[in-house]
Amino acid sequence: MTRKTYKVTLCDGPTCIRNQSREIRQALEQALEKHSLSQRTEIHLSGCLGMCSKGPILIVNPGYVIYGQVTPEDMGEIVESHLAGGQPVARLIVKEDHLYNRFFRIFGDVDFFGKQMRITLRNCGIIDPENIDDYLSVRGYEALAKALTEMTPEQVISEVKKSGLRGRGGAGFPTGLKWDFTAKQPGDEKYVICNADEGDPGAFMDRSAIEGDPHTVLEGMIIGGYAVGARKGILYIRAEYPLAIQRLEIAIEAARSHGLLGERILGSDFSFDLEIRLGAGAFVCGEETALIHSIEGSRGMPRPRPPYPSVSGLFGKPTLINNVETWANIPVVVLDGGAWFSTIGTETSKGTKVFALAGKVQNTGLVEVPMGTTLREIVYDIGGGIPGGKKFKAVQTGGPSGGCLPEEYLDTQIDYESLAKAGSIMGSGGMIVIDEDTCMVNIAKFFIEFTQSESCGKCTPCREGTKRMLEILTRITQGQGKPGDIEKLERLGEMIQKASLCGLGQSAPNPILSTIKNFREEYEEHIHQKKCRAGECRALLKYTILDNCVGCGACKRACPVGAIDGTRKEKHVINQDLCIQCGQCFEVCKFNAVSKA
């Protein structure tokens, strides 16, 4: 049997059939016959590939070259040029839908992926991240080559500007503008930094992106270096991500050996190299000035801006610093054009955003959606809603810097402005779904506990203020809240927001202020009625034994403090003065005769 050289997949979905896919197949077979390639080519028919607007679709493998809107007449050219000559037919390749090119690969999971759009994660879960050949085969480093061949640095920057891409680290600063500032600074010594110091609890967008497709980040950085005139790039990644680090090392080594890093990249005049620096996992080192201090070997503490890193950054030199997700967008912007990129998303926020969906939701995981998708679509369509028939209470975005949005905000569109207006932030991509079993005071306490312990300790509002907020919240959850506590939290929170040195401090009160705003009644119940409606604050629970108690004595035996009294076969009673709310009686009762409220 002859070894097959190519596999050609033809979409056999209803739309494509209507668009002559059957005729196309005949034409293809004839053309193959003509070039004596029939033996060496396999033709497959596939079900709908979900790219109906571009149909009929024809895919040539290896290489994943996708041809769209092909006609029977095109088959001769495709066979002659591509299958026989090795040169794909450029005019027929589906270009704009670059990101969809490999989308059919994750088909079959429509609920989860149907509303997603994968740009940043376009190769994640598809290619072998440790093999540069896989990346090259999916047009890897072509954006870099394009920039080096036909674009000046100014043109690259203008393309990034045109794309409308904004920083994915959370603040949403226009990326093109940042590049422009850095490029315009005088001097030959400039740096490019990738901020991979992902630290929000429960967020792992960057880790996944690097582990799944490290070369994309590298390619973005090399293009960035070319655009701003830097010769050196640094990947700052936390040491807790050993696999991501290992894959980056493999990727950098492979890129060097292919002449994609180092002197005279791809034969051009541009030289650039990358280095990995490990962070020790301080949350604050995600703040750009603290990160730069950390690279310089100092304690990771932010400093006041201005000057911004684009003017005076690493070692006092102009420095372009973007986060992983931002960098991963760059090859797409360059290859497919800023104009195309800017068609995705909303008026002010372009492209897609990756979220780490977690909490009380069916499908936890990593999702990438176009800007403008609503929270409801993410929670219910992609996330599959709340498990166990529980009631939705809130969705928390932006991690410890973000806020909790209740049901009435579910139709908020995902973009920087809408989320801010609703009282939360885009953040770096944490998204936690909260159901009725979660106490909002407790969740606010969880986040402030995090920021409090991760505060660098430099500025007073964050160092001292978050501690006091945590103390007040702890008191409230333990049933020792006092009238006036809410006002104190608001007063401290507003001061910390406005007076702190860096973004960490300025956003630290957000979880508290947003829960006070949207769930004030829960705070008031805790303080005035000593009640936690979610039943999470143990100290506020009251256990009582109901009339259906059969007097088995199980609870009495289980109680560690001897707070339960009662004779056998008679209803038992809990002595509330002794009860420590441990919940043992509730656990052991086989008759549901212990109530917890």
Binding site: K4, K7, T9, E42, H44, S46, G47, N61, P62, G63, G86, R105, I106, F107, G108, D109, F112, L121, N123, C124, G125, I126, I127, D128, P129, E130, N131, I132, D133, D134, L136, S137, G140, Y141, E142, L144, A145, K146, L148, T149, F204, R207, S208, E211, G212, D213, Y241, P242, L243, A244, H258, I265, L266, G267, Q362, N363, T364, G365, L366, E368
Partner: protein, 117 residues
Amino acid sequence: MVSPIDMIKKKRAEAVSRIVSKGYLSTKRVYVGMATCEIAAGSKEVMAVFKDAMAKGLTDVYLSQKGCAGRCNLEPTVEVVEEGKIPVKYGKVTPERAREIVDRHLKKGEVIREWTI
């Protein structure tokens, strides 16, 4: 002078032929998720089962690792791709399930519906 774009196209062609020479055009391609999350869920053991099967004579299969596709609650994931067919994704794959996937899907072509995502 060769332009960077020409160089990268050449590199891509070479990369493709290297991938092909590793058996990419086999009837079935098996991808095992190997990100930190997947490894934590047990994908290394799953990968070992497939490697072992290939060492013991399973042919016409191309085995590769991949990153995380985002299905955290269903990891480890294994994907079986056959050209022209909708790819089959298995979730919560254990070494036992992996052995069955080898026996039933890869050898006999039977898609094990109840484990797919």
